[in-house]
Amino acid sequence: MKNSHDSIKELLRLYRLDSPVPAEVQRHLSSRIERVFAGVMRKTGIYSTLFALFSYIFFLFKRLGILFPLKNIVILGIVIGLTSSGLVYLYVSRDSVPVNTIGPAVPVPPDAMPVMPQESKNKRPAYRLALNPLRSGSVDNDTLSRATMIVSDELSRLHGRDYWAMADEARSAAFVLSGYIEKTEGGFVIFVKVVNSRSSAIVYVTRDRVQSLDEIPESCRRISAELSRRVR
């Protein structure tokens, strides 16, 4: 028994109420629908490149039987694009993270000494003043050493231990102190000079005269105090 669908078609055919369009003509219709539309657009004056482009996509979807509206397709494309970009980014990022390929981790006893990084081990304070030992051509080394020590102690007392260091330890210090003690006919002369290590400009210079060795420590303290005020 025929269903209602077939019966209706047969009925129309029998009463000559149908007008079948051959399949190849239907295919022709489908393939030419867009060109005829372009002709209509030109004739009516609504033709524009952008609209023609959208219309091309519109009819392409029709031909392919894609039912989603163009707007939804564009949104879907953006979502897929962003998602895939995110996945690619995550994949690439994962590859760039260093991976331990040596082997399993070795258990470390809880009381083991922490290993300090090499950088922090070598780190030194930025000294302000590089101190050269006082020199002399006429005074013994003990006196020179004692005088140098008095100067350094006085600087430590006034500015702290990080203010100065011996010259061979503080090559990048901003200032460099040098001086000498010489014996003269009437006593001793103490000469101290501080220069800017970058510009070589003299920032402090002094000369003090004392009459005996016992007065050298006091002179060194006085010079150090004055130097401390001038060179900060």
Partner: protein, 177 residues
Amino acid sequence: MSAFENRKEFRRLYAEYYPLVFSAAYVKTGNRQDAEDICHDVFVRFFNHFGEIEKYRGWLMKAVSFEISNYRSRRANRVSEFADIDDFMNDSNLAFVNGFRDSRIIIQEVLQDEANFENEREMLLFELIAVYDFSYREAGKYLDMTRWQAEYRYRKVSDRIIDQLRKRGVKGIGDLL
């Protein structure tokens, strides 16, 4: 409606109704190129008026008839040929339905009764499949329907038409066949 929205709406209607207009023109002219030319003229006219039109299908079918008349006038040497074909069709229909003319009129009335269709798209779908012999897939393609949606819709309309024929005194399709 903005100009762009206007153009989009026109494109949507064009895509839906083009197969019907083309098929109607093709069965009258029997020539693809002539059918395309008629479609072109009909849709240019449609664009210029489609803001004022309430029932697109009815308006388009009248426009097709009008353009076919123009087309015949332009090709005067072929007028007699067309006239002959139409006359032949009418005569053969009349001859065939000898004694069944009333049935034919009833069927035509039922098919043209808008009450049997939920909307113009449904009417369009039915015409493409039942009258112009489009497949479900092909007809659904122009109306944004899947093959299954098109078949479901078509069956619903068929059932309604059969009901209507029964109401008109036709006990079963078999009676007519």
